[in-house]
Each structure stands twice: as structure tokens, then as C-alpha cells.
Symmetry: none
Subunit: 228 residues, 2 copies
DNA sequence: ATAGAATTTCAGCCGAATTTCAGCAATTTG
DNA sequence: CAAATTGCTGAAATTCGGCTGAAATTCTAT
């Protein structure tokens, strides 16, 4: 579960980061709107926390930019301003929730949980076709059979399950699994997709990882009954 | 878009109902928690607006009951209480948003829109005749049949569907699909139009790609049996 | 240190997507 | 009607991204 914090008050950013880490989230933080927009648009986060008043680009505009990229990661907006107009502007800019500073950490957690719950980000197992991924043991399970996934295999499989039939580009997978600016290249993804396909087959899964040339990968249930 | 209001203050319920109706929503209202739970569990609404303090069953419990039925309609909770603990309880009970009374009608609309926006499965399809193009899977669909389009086929088909019956010149298609200054020539378009015609036929579509000598292409619905 | 697992690297292959082309069909023009 | 132009089509050729197996390297736990 990956969360991006965009907040220029270092102190607040750090304490939120610590709080969320302690709850088991992966957290990254950046400190101005420009970086925020750039990272957010990668589409690799499960949740964005945006401050409104920030250097370079304000939170409303970051939200609008992100939405314009057809990236619909849930957005929690934070602000010291509690004026009605601000809340409305935030929501209309694409935010999903609006929290006024100062806020209680329990409230932050409650609304983060509400948003993730809504987004359908699974906490236990993720299902697709006749198969599911056990998040606590990192195993792919299909009926009686199961097989262990290596860390990277697991990350990729989870990401694929999250987006299901929607397309995931290699670049997005690289950014999420190998990190924003790593050396890794497309072939890495190809190799791991190969590993996953082999393992899916080994347990008799009907999940296919389909490639769309130049676009990326997505899942499908093997049953293709479409011909002339 | 169907909304259920559960609110015991008649006056407020009525004015919300009027407001939302004026914005084009279908709205129903009930006036206590028991009715609320019963209606909500039908699972036919796109959004629930729940008051917290109500006769018979309070809003938190209605939310919990609804969620327990695996009904995950988005819930907007309304309350006069603005205490931290209440907000947290509401969110943890399954609410998606918490609005404090009295609220501004514009804020109500903004957050309803935000919730519906999130809920909305953004399935982008383009229709023509008996056929549609699924933009997320790049498939042409006609009734039970569907067929995958290659990237260039997809681009051209989408462009044609966009302009529909209006004429599209080969040059325009070349500029759009192959790029402003590419080597591609008219025959490229002809070949791909051929591919598309074959695929349209294969799925039993009634869409025709008609050519107008020296002008270009446009779509038409196949008009059978009208000859002399 | 060592075995075993996980990841990276790489070269060659494969096939879908695209391009090319030649010949035929249809339409227009003189 | 014949000539000229434009559009259609099937088949062959080409290209390029994605796939694969094997070897090399790095990581991890004992």
C-alpha cells in the first residue's frame, strides 16, 4: 500500500510519514507542488495526500493536473484554510476528502482507511479468475495448489491484480516496483512477467497476463471464446 | 443516478430532495433509520445520505448494517455533532464522507459529485449503429461478438467514430494516425480501412466505412434491401 | 564461507503489426 | 468507348517489441 505525501511543512510531512509507516504503509514524501505533480502522475500510488498551500504549484492545481492525466488515485486534501469556498474548490478540483489542519491522527487514519476501503484496495487476498494472491504469505493460490512468489514477482502480481483488466504500462510497473528513478529497463519487466506466467501455469490458474504491444500488460481470464 | 436520503427532519429532507432533483438526480427520502436500512440494503442506490441522529436506528448503525450486507453504496453522513469522535465513528462505521450541519448547498453538491465521480466506472465506449468500440480494451463489440483491433486499426476506428457521418480525408487520417510529417501514403489508409471492414463484417456489425472518391471516408449504418 | 534464492544481463528467436506492391475494379472524363 | 484516375485487395516482405533460456551476478540466511 503506497502513499505519497505532498506537503511543504517538513515537520508535518515527517510526522505523517512516521505515523503511516508505523501502520504498515509504504510512504514517500515530497515538499512542493511541482515534485508532487510529477510523482503523483506516475499513477503508482494508492493514495495522495496533498497540502493546499505549497511553493510552485498549489494543491488544487496539482489535483487538477493529476486528474487531467486520467489518473484517479484517491486524493486527500489538507489545509489550514477551513473556509467553505476552499473546501468546495478542493472537491471540484478532484479531491475525494478534505481535512482541516490541525487534525487528529486518528481522524487522518480513519479517513485514509475509508478512502482505501472505497477504492477497493484489498487488505487480505486479491482474487481474479480461479486464483487468488495471499498477501500475508506472498503465495499464489489456485484450488489445492499454491506457489511462493519472490518479492518482485509479488509486487508485480499485486499491481496487476489491482488494475485487473485495465492496462499497465511497463514504465508504470518499473516506477512502482523498481522505484521512480532506477536503472531498470523494460526487459526486466518482461523477464518477471515470464516468471509469473510460468508460476500461474504451474498451479493451473486460468489467469493470463496479456501483453499489448507498445501499451503494456493486463490480466484476462483464460477462456477466450471469441472468433469469427 | 439514484440517491436515497435518510433524514428525520422533514424540512431538511425536503429541501435536499428539491435541490438534488433540480440537479437532475432521482431522489427518494425516508424519515427514520429503520426504513433507511431497509431501503438502503436494496442496493439500488448510487449514493446514500444518512443523518446520524434519527428515531429507531441511528445513522452509524444504519451504515454498519448496510456494509454488513456487502452493499457498498457510497455513504455521506450528516450530523449536527461536529465532534472529532463522531467523525471518526462515522468513517469507521463505513461512511465515505462526513458533513456537518448546517452545510452549504454548494458544498453538498461538491461532495456528492466527488463521491459519484469516484464511484463512476469510467467506461469509455463509442457507439455507432449496432456496434461499439471499447476504449479500454481496444475491442470492437457487436452483440455477443467482439474482436481486437491493432493499435493503428484502433486509432483509425476511433477517429472515424468521432466524426461519424462527416467526411474524413485520407490526408487528415494520415496526419492524425501516422503523424504530421511521416512517409506514409494514401494506400496505407486504404489497407487499414480494408482490415477494419473485414473485422466489422466478422462480428456482424452494420457499420459501413464508405469511401467518397477524392474526398475520404465516413461511417454509415448499413441500409439493407433498399434497391430498385 | 557457502548454498540456495532472487535478480540481472544478454543474445537470438518469434510473431503480430505494419509496409509494400502488383493487379483488378470502379468511376470519371473526353 | 477507351484512357486515366482512384480505390480495393491479397499476398509477400519487413520490422520491431516482446519472449525465452541460460549464464552471470547479487543477495540472504545459515
Amino acid at each position: 500500500m503506497k502513499i505519497l505525501i505532498v506537503e511543504d511543512e517538513r515537520h508535518l510531512a515527517d510526522s505523517m510519514q512516521a505515523l503511516l509507516r508505523s501502520k504498515g504503509f509504504e510512504v514517500e514524501a515530497v515538499y512542493d507542488g511541482e515534485d508532487g505533480a510529477q510523482y503523483a502522475e506516475l499513477g503508482i500510488y494508492d493514495l495522495l495526500i496533498l497540502d493546499v498551500m505549497m511553493p510552485k504549484i498549489n494543491g488544487y492545481d496539482v489535483a487538477r493536473m493529476v486528474r487531467k492525466q486520467h489518473c484517479n488515485t484517491p486524493i486527500l486534501m489538507l489545509t489550514a484554510k477551513s473556509e467553505l469556498e476552499d473546501r468546495i474548490e478542493g472537491l471540484n478540483a478532484g479531491a475525494d476528502y478534505y481535512l482541516t489542519k490541525p487534525f487528529d491522527s486518528r481522524e487522518l487514519l480513519a479517513c485514509i482507511n475509508a478512502m482505501l476501503r472505497r477504492q477497493g484496495t484489498q487488505v487480505n487476498d486479491m482474487f481474479f479468475g480461479n486464483t487468488h494472491l495471499d498477501l500475508s504469505t506472498c503465495k499464489l493460490v489456485c484450488g489445492e495448489n499454491s506457489i511462493r512468489l519472490s518479492p518482485k514477482e509479488f509486487d508485480i502480481m499485486r499491481f496487476l491484480l489491482q488494475t485487473g483488466e485495465k492496462n499497465l504500462s511497463k514504465e508504470t510497473i518499473l516506477a512502482r516496483v523498481w522505484g521512480y528513478n532506477s536503472e531498470a529497463v523494460g526487459n526486466h519487466v518482461e523477464v518477471f512477467v515470464g516468471f509469473l506466467r510460468k508460476k500461474l501455469k504451474a498451479i493451473g490458474s486460468n489467469i493470463c497476463i496479456e501483453a499489448r504491444r507498445n501499451l503494456g500488460y493486463h490480466l484476462e481470464v483464460e477462456a477466450d471464446a471469441e472468433e469469427t
